[in-house]
Every structure is written in structure tokens, then in C-alpha cells.
Symmetry: C2
Subunit: 338 residues, 2 copies
């Protein structure tokens, strides 16, 4: 009777050890009824998000979210169009922010869906500068980083979705912003397009010297999203009372590279320099969502905060795009248009 629809979805075939490989993923194609489930909605995915944190979900063991089990659909944020609905508040054609992960036609409960107004901004920004990454930057920098005019803020992965927002908000708050990125294209972008005060290429052979020279007054805020070697080089530059919001450790998501130690902070330097080192994830500050949308919406509208999207077409290209993200090969907020 009812028509069917082909839902294409990517599941974790097996847990990766270290850097994931294509074999850790599997595409599934499922013929499903072309109607909403009882009490829920049928969606068509317009964009889904690829983010570094997804690597962590693939590991077993305790983290801030439950681990994904083998066979499960890769999880994450998405922007979808409602195709069919059994919930009066969602009508076909509505655009919603969802958490349906790597799939083309999710059939889900309406719980947790949030309507997006396409008139306000491109809908894809709900996954980027006006979504989770933007709010991660905003809440972590303002709540933990406590930026003050004239202070030096250092941020790595600075052309990425989180880092680019951190640096630009830091500029708005009056900080001198030193961004770290990989390669001339990205450093040019953060300096010239985003207005960072200094842009450093971590691939430069004298990167350690460049970093020191870029921070003649030390570092007051280091927004930590990479860990590894950058952390080791920034740590000695931290000033008394420096703040370190710890948002990610992408350099060690695939395990600690041979010859490197797991990134750590000695308590002696915490004491002597009176450092504040604090981890967070964006949901810890969920109560600040309205404030974030108000401020960030205004900054984006006035172009005080710019953003860049790296949109990959086709769900078949998801896995290579994700592996590239883990190696820093994306340039801007990485999205799949399936």
C-alpha cells in the first residue's frame, strides 16, 4: 500500500584502533515505509555534521557520552526537512535541527527536534557558527576563558568551526588573538579574512620559536582543542592566572602517538602560576542558548563573526571526509549534503 523510501545510513562496522579506516564503517540501505512512525516524523536530511568528537564516540569506555556500539548508526547533528509527520507542531516542509547522524531519511520521534527559521540565516549554520561548534566556542571562552581587553588568547585549529569562532569572539572582547593552523591557505584566511592578530603555521620548522615570538607578553587564555605538541609548547608561555578551557584533544583522539606522552598539566605549575584548567562540553552550558543565539546571531549578521563551510556532496563521500577531518584536511565547518 504505502510507498517505500530508501534510507541510506552509515554504521560503525567495528571499533577503530588508532586512526579509523574505511573498514570501520559500513553503508546500509534500508527500504522503509514512506510515512512517519507512530507519534514521530519522517525526515529528509539536508545536511549532517562531521565533528572531531565523533571519533571519541567510537571508543568503548567512559567518556561524557555513551559509546556507540558496533552496528549502530554514526551519531551527530543534522538539519532536515520534514517529509511526513504525526506531530501537529511539525508540518511537511518544516526545517528542523535534529540528532539523526549519518543517514538520508531518518524516521524518528519528534522529541528533541527544534524548528529552524530559514529566513534568519542559511539553515546549515544551525550545525556550525549558530549551532554546536559556535556555542562551544562562545560558552567555553566566555565562561572559563573570561577574556579581558589586552589579554593574549591562543587558539589552535583556528580555521575550524570552533577555533575560528573562538578567535573572533576573542577579538570582539578586546584580546590579542594568536591563531594556529596548518598551511599557508588557512593561516592567510584567519589573519586576513577573520582578522586574527597573528596566524602561525604549526607545520613550520621553527614553529616553537614563532609561537614564543608571537606571545611576547605570555599567554592569558589558551583555548585547548588539540592537545599534543601545541599544548607542550604553549604551557611554558602561560602567565600567572591563565585560563585553559579544555574543549578537545584532537591530536590524541586516535591514541597517543609513539614517542609522545599523554597531554597533561603538572600540578606544580597549576599551583605556582595559579592556572585554571577546566574541561567542558557545550551541553554543560545549555542554559545559555538564548544568550548565545542573540549575541552570535547579531555578530554574524554584522559580519563581526565570519564563518566558512566545507560542504561535501553525497553520503558516499562521508567516510573519506571524516578521516580527512581527523587529519585537519577540511577547511571550515565540515558538512555532508547527502
Amino acid at each position: 500500500m504505502a510507498e517505500t523510501i530508501l534510507n541510506r545510513r552509515i554504521v560503525m562496522a567495528s571499533r577503530p584502533t588508532g586512526m579509523p579506516t574505511p573498514e570501520n564503517f559500513r553503508m546500509e540501505e534500508v527500504e522503509e515505509p514512506c510515512e512517519s512512525p507512530e507519534g514521530g516524523v519522517l525526515l529528509k536530511t539536508l545536511f549532517f555534521s562531521l565533528d572531531p568528537y565523533m571519533r571519541g564516540r567510537m571508543d568503548a569506555g567512559p567518556s561524557y557520552a555513551q559509546a556507540l556500539e558496533p552496528g549502530g548508526v554514526m551519531e551527530g547533528g543534522s538539519v532536515c526537512e520534514v517529509i511526513a509527520s504525526r506531530q501537529p507542531e511539525f508540518r511537511p516542509g518544516d526545517i528542523v535541527l535534529a540528532s539523526t547522524g549519518w543517514q538520508t531519511h531518518p524516521r524518528v520521534s519528534a522529541k528533541g527536534l527544534r524548528k529552524i527559521d530559514p529566513a534568519l540565516a542559511p539553515v546549515s549554520t544551525a550545525l556550525g557558527v549558530l549551532g554546536m561548534p559556535g556555542m562551544t566556542a562562545y560558552t567555553g571562552l566566555l565562561n572559563i576563558g573570561s577574556p579581558k581587553p589586552g589579554e593574549t588568547l591562543v587558539v589552535a585549529a583556528a580555521s575550524g568551526a570552533v577555533g575560528s569562532a573562538v578567535g573572533q569572539i576573542g577579538r570582539i572582547k578586546g584580546c590579542r588573538v594568536v591563531g594556529i593552523a596548518g598551511g599557508p591557505e588557512k593561516t592567510r584566511y584567519i589573519r586576513e579574512d577573520l582578522g586574527f592578530d597573528v596566524a602561525l603555521d604549526h607545520r613550520a620548522t621553527d614553529f616553537d620559536e614563532q609561537l614564543k615570538a608571537a606571545c611576547p607578553d605570555g599567554v592569558d587564555i589558551y583555548f585547548e582543542n588539540v592537545g599534543g605538541r601545541v599544548w607542550d609548547l604553549v604551557r611554558p608561555l602561560l602567565n600567572n592566572f591563565a585560563r585553559v578551557p579544555v574543549c578537545g584533544l584532537i591530536a590524541q583522539y586516535n591514541g597517543v602517538p609513539a614517542g609522545e606522552a599523554a597531554s597533561a598539566v603538572p600540578l606544580r605549575s597549576v599551583l605556582v602560576k595559579r592556572l585554571r584548567i577546566q574541561g567542558f562540553i557545550v551541553s554543560d552550558f545549555a542554559a545559555q542558548r538564548d544568550e548565545f543565539l542573540r549575541d552570535m546571531g547579531a555578530w554574524v549578521a554584522s559580519a563581526q563573526v565570519k564563518y566558512r563551510e566545507d560542504v561535501v556532496e553525497g553520503i558516499d563521500n562521508t567516510v573519506p571526509a571524516f578521516l580527512g577531518l581527523l587529519e585537519g584536511r577540511n577547511f571550515g565547518k565540515l558538512l555532508i549534503r547527502p
Copy 2:
């Protein structure tokens, strides 16, 4: 013409390597005029304080205070009587809080002296529960620890000047307080006299098991004043959103013991558990002095906060007492009555 007075003082003869020895100190006796210096005061020391932080001052290299140079008088807080004064605001017989260190008859500028009212509390408490150690406990626990009713607070060196105040303030704030101390006398004291919920002896062979059993709901606040092995055992017990005010690392003040690593926090656990690790010294919160004196004065007056002093008679016994402090042999706030 003028009479003279014999000032006996202890200087650092040489920098210690690891645990200090008596040879690192030297007593000097100086015949000085029995009158106040130009614009200053002549004092007679009633008590001077011995504190763990003094070990740090003996090292060269950067810390939060300038290092003491060999030949310099050992520094620290004192309570003194004014003998002679060229400053109208200080009269002979006045009792003052000073920073004159390990000496009997300091002749100093009046700058930084603070009058003490002997009617309010025993004057020695200005070096203990109503002084630097008490304020260290109060400001670190309340500003960084943010204690909430029902939370589990762990504090080591719990019979000491800072630890005992931390635990009792934690109780006042509704926490379940687990104290760690060395030996049956101290654990009995913190449990029975101070009202800690649990008292653990870190010398027990199954201390690690006892600690785990004492924290069935994990640890929400760990007030760090020792580092070393206790830190390594507490760390896995920290709950999500746990706070760690870092106030001292007495276990490693004499250097890192062989076979031990320098105490550190892995950034991965900071991230996954969203820990807040923050160093401080009491002067960072100097603006809260009045608030501290008001609250702590009331708690001491009502015996909600009790304190214990370990008063050693005679300046000649200072060095053994200090070395004992570094090994945990004192019992309560250590003071010298010279």
C-alpha cells in the same frame, strides 16, 4: 647612650637539595639599638609561624613569591608586641600582625603592620585559624571548590592548619567530609573533635581500598594540599564536574621522590570529566579578608570551627620543628614562641 637589644634570628645558610637539613640554617645574634628605626617600629616577637610554603621559598627559580637568598632571614608571618615606635598609629604595648619571619626583635618599617585586638581572640590565632591558613581554607574552598550540600569533599593533611579548616567549613556548607591524616591520634581528632564524617590514616596498608570505600558516590571536591600518592589515588574517584583547588603539594616540596612521577592531571580526564583544576594562593583573594574575618570569627566564637595549635617554645627549637612540619610531625597549627 641608647641601650641595645639582642636580636636573635635564623637565616638560610645555604639552599637545601631535597629535604632541608640543620646545616641549611644558621642562627645569628645581632646587637641592635633598643629603639625604633627612623619612621618604623621595634618589635618583640610573641609568635612566629612555620608553614609548609616556606620550603618553597628556599628554592631558587620562579614561584609565586621571590626566592629567599642565602644569608637572608627566613620569612613568614608573626605576631609581635610593639616595644618602641616612631609611628603615631602604633604605641608600645600594641599587638600587631607582621611579616618579620624567624627572629626575636625585628626593627622594621610600619608598612604592612596590622593591629590585632587581643580581646577578640587569642592573638596567636592571627597566624592560624583567623589568619593566613584559615583564609587559605576559606577562600580556596568557597571560590574554587564551590561546596554544595550533599557533595563529597576530600581533604588531606586534615589535622593541619589549612586542612582542618577546610573540612569544618565543608561540614558547615553541608558536605560529606572525608579527611586524611597520618596516625591514629590525628584521625581520632578530626573525626571526634572536628566532626569529619570519615577519617582515614594514609599510613594504613589498605589506604587505597579505604579511600575508595569512604567515597561510594565519588569525590566532588578534592582540596589539594599534598600531591603525590594521595592525588594519584583520589584522581580516579573524581566525579564529573569535580573541583580541585590546588593549594599546596607538600609531598613534593622537597623534590619528587624516586619512583614517583611529578603530580599531574591528564588533560583527557579534565575533558571527559569536565574537571576544574585551579591553583591559588591566599593573597589572590585578599579582597575577601573582611568577609573571611566576619564568617570565620563567628564560626570560631560558636565553636563550629575548632582549631588546635602546636606551640614550640624557644627560637632554638625552630629548625627541628620546621623539619618535623615537612614530615607531618606537627599536630595542629605550628607556632614558635621565641
